[in-house]
């Protein structure tokens, strides 16, 4: 028993309580390769999709973004949602509600009949 005691004194167990589990304060959310991925690489499409999705949004204007907490600066401080220099919005790239609507047959009919078809 004494032998064990002596042995135990000099031994630091590797399993130790490290304290309460907490979420890391800073997490990098940029796409990285999945740990179980057999190729150990992400396809180019991951970056290109994000690039396209964020091209006109505030996420792409890094210098204007406040790094402090959410709501620290008003949305207007981001300035107008504008395409970069030499870049242009295409209407088809905008969310659906901004896109041109197709005319329905009823609408065409209404216009052509001066609205009479609505009451037919």
């Amino acid at each position: 028993m004494n032998a064990t005691k002596i042995l135990q004194q000099g031994r630091q167990p590797m399993i130790r309580f490290l304290g309460k589990r907490s979420t890391p304060s800073k997490i990098d959310h940029t796409p990285q390769v999945h740990p179980a991925s057999p190729t150990h690489s992400l396809p180019e499409s991951f970056a290109s999709y994000r690039q396209k999705a964020q091209q006109h949004g505030p996420l792409n204007q890094t210098n204007k973004i406040s790094t402090s907490h959410i709501g620290a600066s008003p949305g207007s401080s981001l300035g107008p949602v504008e395409a970069g220099k030499g870049m242009y919005f295409d209407r088809s790239e905008l969310p659906k509600r901004f896109q041109r609507l197709a005319w329905t047959a009823d609408e065409i009919e209404a216009i052509e009949s001066g609205g009479a078809s609505l009451h037919a």
Binding site: I15, Q32, V33, H34, P38, P43, F46, L101, L118
Partner: protein, 508 residues
């Protein structure tokens, strides 16, 4: 041309016509009227395609974290392959067939005289079905408890936020989700040249539902599924031959020493093995099935006759009919959905977990991922340790392992210590008259940190949990060896293997 007419025409309409999109005052309002269908559902926080282990666990976790969740499942029962046609029914058959086999062959030396022992396969299958239906209904209850909407139907992507569902009971609906989770699982890989009919040429699905015990059974593939199902039918009286292309059974990850021992023990139980052998052709045209085999490196051909052939060469991700092409999502060369470290596909709000993506196709791996993926969505932080996922083969004796095996460490030039302890030197195993197998522990030669644990023996599947915990905590073999294990238990073999790794075992 009529557009210019329209701009003039609008103010001319004197009476307000509320139902007309034509005179709507602005585009937004116009769009609302035109696109707004009364039946359109609200947008969910999370839509899950697949109600298997990955999908249903994610649904429950998401419900618990306050998200509005919909889970789409086409089978008509929750739980996926695992609960319906995989882990659960096979374990029911493995357990009951083992009991039957034991009563037939292993009672006299225990002092038990039994009379006429008969197999009632129908009743055995019924017991299996009772276990399965109890568990699947249990999940439905948990869905209700956690406010998960359950849609029975086949989901397919319509666009990046919309899933069209072909309902099981007829009709269609669409579901919109801020986040969408692909958890569609996997299916058995078919063997080229053999058409699966689930009667004569079967996958694991047919292997748990045979109507009678076949006289001769050939199992193509000596992995875990093949050996488990081969065991069941061998115990019930079939003459089982396992054909494996590689020189070792057990599939990837199993330690060579363990695989050799497992093969020896299964052979003793009556199973036959043809290793380093490839199947060149199969013919299911006649009454039975003929399988042509030859040595993997070329050699003389041989024909095996069987009543039933089990194709168990692996599983492949299942994404048929999911409409991935509608949203431009790509899969890799083996059909797996490509994801990043947070399970996101290239479209960040669409994620994938479980068998349909990277990593081992194991239910408990999918379950870990389900918890992590919901945490990523809800809290922005989740975690799965892919280095500490156990594998278990539920034959008798069971085989279980976690971490790296000796072959892998040798290939990586890592210096290690090995400690082994046989169950034949364990008191509890001796009293149980169940002493086959051993525990093998591998630790780093310099730091003594445990790198891998490999068990073949009674209850290995339960015992490996301690090994996974040790690996997860980064324990040394000495840490495990100095932890008290109750006497007399099988777990003492685990402790003694740890002692043998850093020093010497006491009882061997």
């Amino acid at each position: 041309m009529f557009r210019s007419v329209a701009s003039r025409a609008v103010p001319r309409v004197a009476r307000p016509v509320t139902q007309s999109t034509f005179c709507a005052p602005n585009i937004y309002f116009q769009s609302q009227l035109r696109r707004g269908y009364a039946s359109e559902a609200e947008e969910k926080d999370l839509v899950i395609i697949g109600g298997g282990v990955a999908g249903y666990v994610a649904a429950i976790k998401a419900g618990q974290s306050g998200m509005k969740v919909t889970c789409i499942e086409k089978r008509g029962a929750l739980g996926g392959t695992c609960l319906n046609v995989g882990c659960i029914p096979s374990k029911s058959l493995l357990n009951n067939s083992h009991l039957y086999h034991q009563i037939l062959h292993d009672t006299k030396n225990r002092g038990i005289e039994v009379g006429d022992v008969k197999l009632n396969l129908g009743a055995m299958m019924k017991a299996k079905e009772t276990s399965v239906s109890g568990l699947t209904k249990g999940i439905e209850f948990l869905f209700k408890k956690n406010n998960v909407e359950y849609i029975k139907g086949t989901g397919a992507f319509q666009d990046e936020h919309t899933v069209a569902v072909n309902l099981v009971e007829g009709g269609e609906t669409t579901v919109r989700g801020k986040n969408i989770l692909i958890a569609t699982g996997s299916e058995a890989t078919p063997f080229p040249g053999l058409t699966i009919d689930e009667k004569k040429v079967i996958t694991s699905t047919g292997a748990i539902a045979l109507q009678e015990v076949p006289k001769k059974m050939v199992v193509i593939g000596g992995g875990i599924i093949g050996l488990e199902m081969g065991s069941v039918w061998s115990r019930l009286g079939a003459e089982v031959t396992v054909v494996e292309y590689l020189g070792q059974i057990g599939g990837p990850g199993m330690d060579a020493d363990v695989a050799k021992q497992a093969q020896k023990l299964l052979q003793k139980q009556g199973m036959k093995f043809k290793l380093n052998t490839k199947v060149t052709a199969g013919d299911a045209g006649g009454e039975g099935v003929k399988i042509n085999v030859e040595a993997a490196k070329g050699g003389k051909e041989e024909t095996l006759d069987a009543d039933v052939v089990l194709v168990a060469i692996g599983r492949r991700p299942y994404t048929n009919g999911l409409g991935l092409e509608n949203i431009g999502l790509e899969v890799d060369e083996r059909g797996r959905v490509i994801i990043d470290q947070e399970y996101r596909t290239k479209i960040p709000h669409i994620r994938a977990i479980g068998d349909v993506t990277f990593g081992p196709m194991l239910a408990h791996k999918a379950e870990e991922e389900s918890v992590a993926v919901v945490e990523y969505m809800a809290k922005g932080y989740g975690h799965v340790n892919y280095g500490a996922i156990p594998s278990v083969m539920y034959t008798h004796p069971e085989v279980a392992w976690v971490g790296q095996n000796e072959q892998e460490l040798k290939a990586a030039n890592v210096k290690y210590n090995v400690g082994q302890f046989p169950f034949s030197a364990n008191s509890r195993a001796k009293t149980n008259l169940d002493t086959e197998g051993f525990v093998k522990m591998i630790s780093d030669a310099e730091t003594d940190r445990i790198l891998g644990i490999h068990i073949i023996g009674p209850n290995a599947g339960e015992m490996i949990a301690e090994g996974v915990l040790a690996l997860e905590y980064g324990a040394s073999s000495e840490d495990v060896a100095r932890t008290s294990h109750a006497h007399p238990t099988l777990s003492e073999a685990f402790k003694e293997a740890a002692m043998a790794t850093y020093d010497k075992a006491v009882h061997y």
